[in-house]
Subunit: 111 residues, 4 copies
């Protein structure tokens, strides 16, 4: 049997929270709020940069950002788990919706 | 052998952005900002609810939240791609760090 | 003698919430979350722009942003009210702290 | 002549940024992003609390939150200044719009 990496993280975070009795804290509302805090920790590294590309980030910043992206994903996985959302299925489905909203082509400006 | 949902989404989002010439828009900084906007669209559904659990969300709200969680993931995948971060590896590694910060046990209060 | 715009808004928002029986919704936690949602509504207009300056925003966008800045302020005023924070005093005090952290001068890079 | 407290903060922040040559950093886009980071620093204190009211916050947390509310206001004032928005006027105007959207009365549920 194959396990997807998102399902693997779902299992790992379930176990982690269980071992720490975090169920009372981990309401969907609280997980959304925690996820928004982690996103801001990513944003903090980019707020004064021109674009955040390539050499604008030094090595320690890149390492910090890597872990903060992980934090966003870990809260997202836990939130989706509480809400019975399969993230991969939802993302593929949402891309189908987006493809209609933004047809391919050179004039496809983001707004 | 594991399949990788996250790598699959990385490929899909690369192709999607390529077909629309979105490279000039998709700087890391802009993707962070777009991700924060999507997280807030999730948060909007929860801001006045007690916990967001179970029957606090009606069916249309659950469907909307599902797509907004997908949007968060899609921007996260694209951002990680630009920054050469493997999200699953980073998340597993971050959980190891978290396990030291928050040892298991009944007294493991979140702060 | 100074008039206080912030105290005026505090009185107006108290009255507004009272007339609608919003006290049960307006916990500090919920007001923080609502404020973060409004900030993201501002951010949404800027996410794909180079800098957001001058002519990058058309007139309807400028009008929308104006109202969303107002929403941020209104939630901030209400949150500060619940927490017994005088916003002007706190801001002046925080600037004193910031002046020590960032001494004036040409080399005062933001980080 | 009377000076409002929001205009006072506008003058103070102008002077502060000028003395540090921060104009190149202080684009509207960057100020929005910085404001969102400060809002998340407020949110971080509330994410695991039931409501954030009264005795849920200890004295050091209240002091920290006070300064983070100040940071939100300082960025909001600077952003409004760049966009030529008078915050008090905009807030009063927005309340008029809100009064139509949410008529007073016992059934005025927030959604």
């Amino acid at each position: 049997m194959k396990t997807s990496d998102l399902h693997d993280l779902r299992e790992r975070t379930r176990q982690f929270a269980l071992e720490r009795n975090w169920a009372p804290y981990h309401t969907p509302k609280n997980l959304v709020m925690a996820m928004s805090v982690e996103v801001a920790e990513v944003a903090e590294h980019f707020q004064w940069l021109p674009t955040g590309a390539g050499d604008e980030l030094d090595a320690p910043t890149r390492a910090a950002v890597r872990h903060e992206l992980a934090d966003v994903l870990l809260y997202l996985v836990q939130l989706a788990d509480k809400l019975d959302v399969d993230l991969h299925d939802a993302a593929v489905e949402k891309m189908t919706v987006n493809a209609i909203k933004y047809p391919p082509g050179p004039g496809s400006a983001l707004t």
